[in-house]
Each structure stands twice: as structure tokens, then as C-alpha cells.
């Protein structure tokens, strides 16, 4: 297969080098062998390769800047990200080509981050950091998470990992997802339509779902008001899942105990934005799920697993459904 890898122009930590590719291809066995591979970083590199490419590999920001493009032979587009919302609408995808993401790459780091954020809320760390900013020593008693009620919206690679980690510490986990299939870490899984009913019974709420037409603005001002006053919020999905201004208002008014956010609208957060000074809020700059040590090798492993499945006539394991949005 003729494969083109388009790398970011200036981000060595997220560049798929020929050496990294060769190692992943060798580890993939037959699925990694016999390909003609080109590597590019500039629009000219991309233009030179795309007309002949049968598979394209790149991250969402790189591809967003270059697509659509005349790609008559393209059959596979692998995006080295899980959430592809910023590539929508997907009308740039050539007919007959399939779209793949790298979901699963992030599950270990995201699970650890989610567990950390839940523990931080249980120990009142966002409030302590606000006190620290003011030079104020004030006792704030936390609670063990064992027995506390966690609600996780989205049970994919990210949310599922958070649910699993939290359940191991004795939390009572309720899942919320589009189709309410059971999950081994959850005592209950409800459909998104039942969200209103579970919010008042949530000590901590974690948003870990994709951003789609159905989930945009999911946690609006009314729903924030359904959370208990002692509740904490974590967002590792996408910024526009929630009404950010309503959340800031709730934190300003002490209507929630705290929040740990990894995603925002917009990103980067502009200088002087109210988020920077909202109390009881911890800002992580959209890094929760990424581990540079494992990110690219694991992404390529997933890419080759898809090639292997396709070669065997099986469904591609991380095929992305443009209509559904994940």
C-alpha cells in the first residue's frame, strides 16, 4: 500500500519519524510489510504525495489544514486522535475511503488523569489551590472516595478507563451513554435521555464523551443546577460539552465544590479570560490523555491493527462513523 504520513511542521514530540514507523511496522508483522511510505511536513510535501496515496496518516490539526484534496486513490485515512469533531463535517472524505481514529491510545493516561481529578475533588484540592493563591491557611476536610457516587458520561476508551479506576477504589459508578449497554465498572448504565435523573445523585460528574451534534451543550445551565452543592465536575471530553460561562457562574457562587477541566472553548484560553481566575477550578491545558512516551507507538500499533483487519476482510477496529460523530 502507498502510505503518506503528514507530520506537524514544528512539533518533534508528535512527529512520526521513519525510525518510529519502521519499528512499529516491524512489530506489526505482515500487516506492516510491503508498503511504500512517504513522510512530509509542508503543504508542498502533502500535495506531492496525496494524488497517489492509498492511505493517509496524520493528526487532526494537520489534516484539517490540508483537506479536502484531490485524492483519487485514497482508501484509508488514519487520524492520530480520538475525537475528530474539528474535522466535521466529513464531506472532505473521498467516496470509498474509510476514516479511522486512534481510540484506545489514550486510555491508560486518561484513566489515571480521571482518577486523579476525582481524588482531587474529594480532597478539595481546587479550593485549596484557590486559598493558596490568596495566601490563606484554611482547613478543608476531604472525604475518602470509597462509597461516593461517580457519574461518567461516555464509556469509551476514556470514560471506561476512569470508571474502572474509580470502581477499584470503591466508588459507586453510574455510566451515561447513547446506548445504555452495561459496563463492568458501573452499577448502572443509563441512556443520555436519563441524565437529568442521575445528576442530583452525583458526588462527582465526569464528562468523557465525544463532541457531536447530540452532545454539544449537554451540561447546560439548567443541568449544572441539578448537581448537588458539594458536587465536583471533571471534563476530559471537549470544551463545548458544557456551558462554560454557567459553570464559572456556579463556581463563583459556590454552587459546586470544584472543577478540574482539561478542555475548553476556545483553546487556547485567551489571556484575561474569566476561566483563569474562577475560584475552585483547576486548568489542565488539554493534555490529560496524552503520554508522549507511548502516544505515537500506540497510535501506529492501532493503525496496523486496522490494516490487518481490513486485509482479512474484517471490520476495522477503530473505524470512525462520520454520521454518528465517533
Amino acid at each position: 500500500m502507498r502510505i503518506h504520513v503528514q507530520n506537524p511542521p514544528d512539533d518533534p514530540a508528535f512527529t512520526i519519524t521513519p525510525a518510529l514507523w519502521a519499528a512499529a511496522a516491524a512489530a506489526a508483522g505482515p500487516a506492516g510489510a510491503g508498503h511504500a511510505v512517504s513522510f512530509g511536513t509542508t503543504p508542498a510535501d502533502f500535495a506531492a504525495a496525496i494524488a497517489e496515496a492509498e492511505a493517509l496518516v496524520g493528526d487532526k490539526d494537520v489534516l484539517r489544514a490540508l483537506l479536502p484534496a484531490p485524492a483519487p486513490r485514497l482508501r484509508v485515512v488514519f487520524v492520530a486522535n480520538a475525537g475528530l469533531d474539528n474535522l466535521a463535517p466529513f464531506d472532505w472524505l473521498p467516496p470509498g475511503a474509510i476514516l479511522l481514529n486512534n481510540r484506545g491510545t489514550h486510555s491508560v493516561k486518561a484513566g489515571e488523569f480521571g482518577l486523579m481529578a476525582v481524588l482531587m475533588l474529594a480532597s478539595a484540592i481546587p479550593a485549596m489551590v484557590t486559598d493558596q493563591r490568596a495566601g490563606l491557611w484554611r482547613k478543608r476536610w476531604g472525604r475518602s472516595v470509597a462509597g461516593q457516587r461517580l457519574t461518567v458520561v461516555g464509556l469509551g476508551a476514556l470514560g471506561g478507563a476512569v470508571a474502572t479506576q474509580a470502581a477499584r477504589l470503591g466508588m459507586v459508578v453510574t455510566g451515561v451513554r447513547a446506548r445504555p449497554a452495561p459496563h463492568p465498572a458501573c452499577v448502572a448504565v443509563v441512556a443520555a435521555a436519563a441524565l437529568d435523573a442521575v445528576l442530583p445523585a452525583s458526588d462527582v460528574l465526569v464528562l468523557a464523551c465525544p463532541l457531536t451534534a447530540a452532545t454539544r451543550g449537554l451540561l447546560d445551565r439548567r443541568r449544572i443546577g441539578l448537581l448537588p452543592r458539594h458536587a465536583g465536575l471533571v471534563n476530559i471530553g471537549r470544551g463545548p460539552l458544557l456551558d462554560q460561562d454557567a459553570l464559572c457562574d456556579a463556581l463563583d457562587a459556590g454552587l459546586l465544590s470544584g472543577a478540574v477541566l482539561d478542555v475548553f472553548d476556545p483553546e487556547p484560553i485567551p489571556p484575561g479570560h474569566r476561566l483563569w481566575t474562577t475560584p475552585n477550578l483547576i486548568i489542565s491545558p488539554h493534555t490529560a490523555a496524552d503520554d508522549p512516551d507511548t502516544y505515537l507507538p500506540r497510535s501506529l500499533e492501532i493503525f496496523f491493527a486496522n490494516l490487518r483487519a481490513l486485509a482479512a476482510g474484517k471490520p476495522a477496529p477503530t473505524r470512525f462513523d462520520p454520521a454518528r460523530g465517533y
Copy 2:
């Protein structure tokens, strides 16, 4: 047994009420029955009870203010804390009386806090909070803790719980303690004298040992310099275990990646102290190990377990050795 409970004058969350006592005594079976119990909050209450008391129950700050006292019949002093360093020297203890602490009370919450702090360092949260204070969006890539090397100094109820939690996430844990007996969560346990050798191989260092003559100043300026530049530090033991100024200097100079501290010297941290503005440092106001929901019931459970053992002629499970300091 004639038991006197001396409560803090103004802290309802840490007051042993007659109702709380009755519930714990009932749960303790025969060990909880047949006692004559008095409750006090003022020095006058204490003075009225101590001459006749055979057992005294209180927290370290309450007792520190009232002891020594003429207590000719006192046989048991139960302090509802684990670290009794601020009651040293122990010359106030009447001859023939034994001293008990509540070690074990804190293990669940402390284990969760320690795990949280280790995850926070792996995700660069202290640096992110420093960036946030400056209104600065800057990507900082964290790493999964799986495979990272954690060194825990002190493997009692606190350090042992942290080691266990960290090992469950795949960390490679080395323990350091006075007598290097093995620990199930540790790949190795070394004696305190070998600390210098393990510091350079520590991605995260957790201090969780008691403060004694042997551990005061344990992590001095020279030893801080033995840690790798990417290392993070957690202190849930006591402030004077480390050279706080040397730590602040190291954080100012970027010689460590971050620190999460729950204990300080002095406490409370005075207004304007350099700790408040030291970069890459998270301050928790000495609350890491406390869970008000479980603290007092669990402490009383431990008290009655001691009475049960003593009645059976067995060693008291949480007897505190004044000579050793823990």
C-alpha cells in the same frame, strides 16, 4: 474502667459526643461495657476528672495543653492521632501508664491522598497551577505512572497505603524504613541509611514517616540535590522531615518538577511566607489523612481494640513507644 474523654473546646467535627461514644462502645462488645465515662472541654472539666481517671482519651493538641497533670490512677492514655511528636518528650506520662495512638485510622484517606499526589506530579499539575496563576496556557506533557519509580519513606499505616495504591497502578515501589523488613507492595525495602542510594532512582519521593530525633531534617539540602531533576516530592509525614527552605530553593530553580505538601514548619504557614508563592508547589493545609466521616468512629474502634487486648493480657495493638517516637 473510669474513662475521661477530653474534647477540643470549639471543634464539633472532632468532638467525641456521648452518642458517638455509646455507638462505638456498643459495637465493641464486652470491651466497651461497664465503664464510667466523663466528657469535658474546659481545663476545669479536665482537673475535675484527671485525679480519678484510669484512662484518658483526647487529641494531641488538647492533651498537650493540659499535661502533665496529677493522675495517680492513670493506666492508659489514648491519643486520637498517629504522629505524637508534639507531645515529646514524654516525661508527662505517669509511671505505669501506657501510651496508645490511633494509627490505622488514616490509612484509607492517606492512601488515596498519596496516590492523588503521585498522579498530580506525573501529570505536572503543580506546574499547571503555577501557569494558571499567571494566566498562561502552556502545554506540559505528563506521563502515565505505570512503570515509574516511587520511593516511599515510612511504611506504616500511611506510607504502606500509598505504596499499595501506587503498586496497583503499576508503579515500581521502593520502601525505606528503620528496619528494612519486606512489604508486599514494594519491590525492595531498604534501611534509612541507604536513602542516598535510592534517591537518584526516584521519579517520585513520598515522605510518610513519623517525626523523631532520627528523622528530623532527613531530606536535607544535600539529599534534595540527589533527586533527579524531573522528580516530584510528596510530604504527608511532618514538616520538619525536610529542609523546607532548601525545597523552595530547588523549586525556584527548577531543580525538581513539583511538590505536593500537606505538612509544614510552622503550621499554620504564616501570611507572606515564601511557601505561598513558591512555583510548582501545591499546599494542602494538613488535612491529607483526615476524613471527618470516619475519623472518630475509627479512632474509638482502635481504642476499644486496645482495651480488648489489654483485658486478655495481650500486647496493645497501637502502643506508642516514647523512646522510639512511634
